[in-house]
Symmetry: C2
Subunit: 339 residues, 2 copies
């Protein structure tokens, strides 16, 4: 199965009748090689299907030409889409993309303690994972450029959306429809200790409510682990309370769908009995007619990659970039019923 032996630069040089040095220069199209020679060497290299040994050249030059992507959960649409964008532009720029999932506490800890990408990449992009102070210090040990894609991290140069603003837009949409008893189902990371519920996404909700002069019923804002069925359960809790909301705002479309399932099973109609709004504009949201606030996910990845490349080139690009979000009205929301 294996070819007997990989062809090396030496083979090319010999075959082309030049020295190793010249062969190398010719292939890297460095200055100082006669056009004819370069041509000949290139020709031989092509014929021999020569490919430089990456470790050898990296060792010799010090350049690495690869970047690490640190991402929590590839199986969630949001991350897959983001990584898709990142990978595309990085690959086209000639970089290799190393993938590191840090979804569960174990692998997260392992990643930051062992730094498996150390000495392997010349940059890392953290995808929507807020790093702790300690993790930040560990990462620093790698001594490479770091950027953040998605998430609300001011620690590194980043491109993301304003999460709070997105939630605010969703809230205002509901408010505009006359809703007052609005429930919100927030996603929290079960592995993280403190959960500053009034910060991050949820902040936008409180702000919008305050500005509209609508009191928020604390019983209606619940936190749960991320996930559709978790949201469905949270919705059950919401339905067991003394006041049932006329609208619910979920922190992601998946969670909105979970809430909708519970409502459906409870015999409540969406949107007639209760309106539901999600966040993200998951591709399936369109198919289930879910009102949501759209964020450009792939684009965050694409732009983060460009940001990184600019940094690597030594340019001085914008270090902070927030992409706009906007509500996409479909038919899971409608005016509040009276009462």
């Amino acid at each position: 199965m294996n070819s007997s032996k990989a062809v090396g630069l030496a083979d090319v040089a010999r075959e082309a009748g030049v020295s190793l040095a010249t062969a190398s220069r010719a292939l890297n199209s460095a200055y100082g090689v006669a056009a004819g020679t370069r041509e000949r060497v290139a020709e031989v290299a092509r014929r021999l299907e020569y490919v430089a040994s990456p470790e050898a050249s990296r060792l010799a030059t010090g350049a690495r030409r690869s970047v690490a992507l640190v991402v929590p959960h590839l199986e969630r649409w949001y991350f897959g889409e983001m990584v898709g964008g990142l990978e595309e532009v990085l690959r086209e720029a000639g970089h290799d993309v190393l993938l590191y999932q840090v979804g569960d506490p174990g692998s997260r800890h392992a990643f930051f303690e062992h730094l498996p990408a150390r000495r392997k990449v010349d940059a890392v992009v953290v995808v929507a994972v807020p790093v702790t102070e300690h993790e930040r210090r560990r990462l620093e040990l790698m001594g490479v450029t770091i950027v953040a894609a998605g998430g609300q991290d001011a620690t590194y140069p980043f491109v993301s959306v304003d999460d709070a603003a997105a939630v605010r837009q969703a809230t205002e949409h509901l408010l505009r429809l006359g809703h007052r008893r609005i429930a919100v189902i927030t996603a929290v990371d079960p592995d993280r200790a403190e959960q500053p519920v009034r910060r991050g996404r949820t902040r936008g909700f409180y702000e919008a409510m305050a500005e509209a002069g609508v009191p928020v019923d604390e019983e209606l804002v619940v936190a749960t682990a991320w996930g559709g069925v978790q949201a469905a359960e949270a919705m059950e809790g919401l339905l067991s309370g003394r006041t049932i909301p006329t609208a619910v705002l979920a922190h992601s479309d998946e969670m909105a769908l979970g809430a909708m399932r519970t409502l459906r099973r409870a015999g409540l109609r969406v949107p007639e009995d209760v309106s539901v709004v999600g966040i993200d504009d998951h591709p399936l949201a369109e198919l289930v007619d879910l009102t949501t606030v759209r964020q450009p996910v792939r684009d965050q990845g694409v732009q983060a990659a460009h940001l990184l490349l600019a940094l690597l080139r030594g340019e001085e690009p914008d270090l902070a970039r927030k992409l706009p979000t906007r509500v996409v009205v479909r038919s899971s929301t409608t005016t509040a019923r009276q009462g």
Copy 2:
């Protein structure tokens, strides 16, 4: 931002008062180093935060310890989930994971012609992408182990599910409910030339129908590009036909959702007027109560990774493995209405 200079083995050796050779052996816990010495070297290495230069060791040993993942579309749940499984076990086995997306024709071509992973990895896993004969030959040039995860490719050692069987199960489920006018919406790759519609997934449909002695109405089996809205449009076409089906089988859950949207907009109820069944058991299928046939996606990735590792270790594992699928009955299907 960068630390002045990375600490090398030489630093560790000097600090520990041993030679380079001994330091190397001590750290690789190779045989022939006194326990005390090993301990001391390890201690120094830890204190200095020493990490071996991967290019140097790879160059010296020839080992690469990394594998390439070739995948079409990270943004689709199926692939994200699969890659998630692959990455996890490969990472835990100490391998680096290089990602290469080959979704569009351009990057696909580039990948197979330039073989960017050549000389960088000691294995590649192709994720649900059927390679052409030409691509197979190109890949062979890499001279490394190859396995397939998902897809119906007998070219390489693989682990996947039996797609035809999955469709057959879905069909039989519908048949059992009394459906006769069954539509099927198949996904085809718009970039590939020939579309053998009676092969692959669709074959299972024809077989099941034949066995049940139910004639298939060719007008009811339509092909479209993959995607929810594509399926929605296909469904529109189906509703424009002379006979409208009592059930529709979509080749993925996303597409089933697309079909459902069209039905809903057409004023038809699911499942009372028409039953819908998908394939995959996408996490959201559960939330929208979609009947589907489940395939273990992440598990295919996990097992493919294990298969690969076994191959790399020189063992002789099962070269072909099909994981079971089974229908998950939810409420998008019901008995056929008369007439």
